[in-house]
Amino acid sequence: MRKPGSVLKEMFENLGTRPVTILYPKEKVPIPEAFRGKIAIRDEKCIGCSKCAIVCPTQCITMVANEREVEVKGKTIVRKKKPEVELYMCIRCGLCEEYCPTDPKAIYLTNAFSGAGPDKEVVVK
Amino acid sequence: MSELLKVEQVAKAMEGLGTVDAMKPNRIRVATTPAKVKEAVQRALKDLKCDHVVQIAAVDNGKSFELIYNLTGPHHTVVSILLELPRDKPEVPTASDLLPPAGLYERQIHDLLGIVFVGHPNLKRIILNEDWPENEFPMRKDWKPNPNTFYGGVHTEEAK
């Protein structure tokens, strides 16, 4: 049966057990792999269809002119543009990853969650 | 759980005030005019035993303003009283004496759409910030933020 909860008993139990808080910079928190973290771009997979730029809610993806052969389903095509993401405008919603037609997604969210930085206009190429 | 109101019940309670139609089993709408809105709300409170105002929605559909009073009660049916206000003189008697929470909702609608609620105890600004320019109502369809008026926040031109 469940022991009745009393504040005093719980306090002294806690005195014995290990504390729950972790000292963040030294000890790290385990991140689930499904976590939506910092955005990243696989340049070799991108076919320049700019679907991600259209669907982005905060319009932080701009298409930049960039010629490159890309191998898609056996054929190699020359793509005209590639996406550039303004990192601190991105709200990490993952819509771009969802609408990207390439197989290993050309634009995807890693699970790096710490993203502070001094430069406001940093851009992920 | 008492069962839902019937359309006939609402029609009988509201006859003479406006047309009644049921969009869904638990949504019954009464279209009425601004003059009769107080009477309609009173009847809803008394005859139809509605005791809880869900929301007062305000819409600017280009031509005129529409106000929808949504009321509900233990019968779990939403009785919504719809009325249209002319664009040039949007005035309607207040419902805050019958429904106390309406005081806050009406002040918010007044801020955003500029509908004047006659008889409201203090129709002061509640939702926009203090130095938002007078009689500029952001939720109106024809409202465009013109660049040279100052809408609060940082005095950018002096800062340059």
Binding site: G5, E10 | M1, Q55, A57, L112, H155
Partner: protein, 393 residues
């Protein structure tokens, strides 16, 4: 005794969000109170009118930090109703699971903050520690602790893998045991009882007259719960019941919220165990036919209402959001008069105000002081120069 005007807010340690009470106190009891909301109005309704259905969902997720899933679900449910589209049952169940997990972590958060208001920091630490289990579940399922981004018009964006379901089910017993312990503590812990009993008391017809919603109303015996009155997503076929109480004061609201915690855990367990198979979303037409929907939802703080009017385009013609906290303000202001100054934080916290829901614009207003955009190095140069000058002066 001369009357003292005590400003509580907008920046006040007790209120985590900006609301301003100009309180006129005679000694310790409050005589008159001026309420000043909306330091946080962001014009979301106007912004929502310029976004199509795919891009408006992330915007609506950010109406409120804690109940972000509520705002997206109520909107998406309304649009699906307008499009007369039925989403697959698996998506309904996943939405219910995330909704109830959000209610659990919101109530646990509230319970900790309420204990902190009366200075009982131990319970604050314990409840927020147990809340981590719920946050981990949500993080594994939806990819983020708060803004879940799981909803979209026509269904859900992510599926639940069997491992995630097992991991979640393993965490539930511990949570159930902890919440049962908290229920005992509330009834046994002396200072909590003294500070919660009889504070901010509202009778049943007060609540109905003042239009209070959610746990605040249910604590005085009003059994309005949209999940029962107007069932949506998967609440119709999940066995649970509405928790009401008769105390009507902060103590009653605590009991209602703890009861709801236990009910939500049961709902999550039921949904996880018999999650129907099948697709998780359907393709919906781009535009919604002309229509007017009043979409209601039981958010952790009370009844949340989205009035949506669609006009045959892929954008909303008008979105009118009425949040539970806006409905609760009148009842708080009335129940605060003749109370003690020391009780303000407890009574205000009792309705669990969520200010970023209620008003949605934040404009920094530095009247008179000249502030402009400073780049990083300008700021640090300014800092060094300022202190060097001070050093010499």
């Amino acid at each position: 005794m001369t009357e003292v005007v005590v400003p509580i807010g907008p920046h006040h340690p007790a209120l985590k969000e900006p609301v301003n009470f100009k309180v006129v106190a005679d000694g310790e009891t409050i005589v008159r109170l001026e309420l000043d909301v909306s330091y946080n109005h962001r014009g979301i309704e106007k912004a929502a009118e310029q976004r199509d259905f795919v891009r408006v969902v992330p915007l609506l997720e950010r109406v409120c930090g804690i109940c972000s899933h509520s705002h997206t679900t109520v909107f998406v449910k309304g649009i699906e109703e307008a499009m007369k589209v039925q989403i697959p049952p698996r998506a309904q169940y996943i939405r219910t699971i995330v909704a109830e997990l959000e209610r659990i972590h919101s109530h646990l958060l509230w319970f900790g903050v309420a204990a902190h208001e009366i200075g009982f920091n131990t319970l604050f630490m314990w409840t927020w520690r147990d809340r981590e289990a719920v946050q981990d579940m949500l993080e594994e399922m939806t990819g983020n602790r708060v803004n879940y981004g799981i909803n979209e018009v026509g269904g859900v964006r992510r599926d639940l893998t069997p491992e995630q379901i097992q991991a979640a089910l393993k965490r539930l017993p511990h949570l159930e045991d902890r919440i049962a312990k908290y229920r005992d503590m509330v009834n046994k812990e002396a200072t909590m009882m003294i500070r919660f009993r009889g504070v901010g008391k509202l009778s049943k017809d007060d609540i109905l007259k003042l239009g209070a919603v959610g746990p605040t109303a249910r604590a005085s015996g009003v059994d309005y719960d949209i999940r029962k009155d107007d069932p949506y997503i998967a609440y119709a076929d999940v066995p649970w019941q509405v928790i009401t109480d008769t105390h009507g004061d902060v103590y009653g609201r605590t009991l209602v919220r703890i009861g709801e915690l236990q009910q939500s855990l049961q709902i999550v367990r039921y949904c996880l165990e018999n999650l129907p198979a099948g697709p998780i979303k359907i393709t919906t037409p781009r535009a919604a036919p002309r229509g007017e929907i009043l979409s209601r939802y039981e958010a952790p703080r009370g009844e949340l209402v989205h009035f949506i009017r669609t006009n045959n385009t892929d954008k909303v013609e008008r979105l009118d959001i009425r949040t539970p906290t806006l409905a609760n303000w009148t009842s708080v202001a009335v129940s605060l008069v003749h109370q003690n100054l020391a009780d303000i934080p407890v009574i205000v916290a009792a309705i669990d105000p969520c200010l970023s829901c209620t008003s949605r614009i934040t404009i920094v207003n530095e009247r008179g002081k000249k502030t402009g955009e400073m780049t990083w190095d300008e700021l640090s140069a300014h800092g060094r120069e300022f202190y060097r000058k001070r050093g010499r002066a």
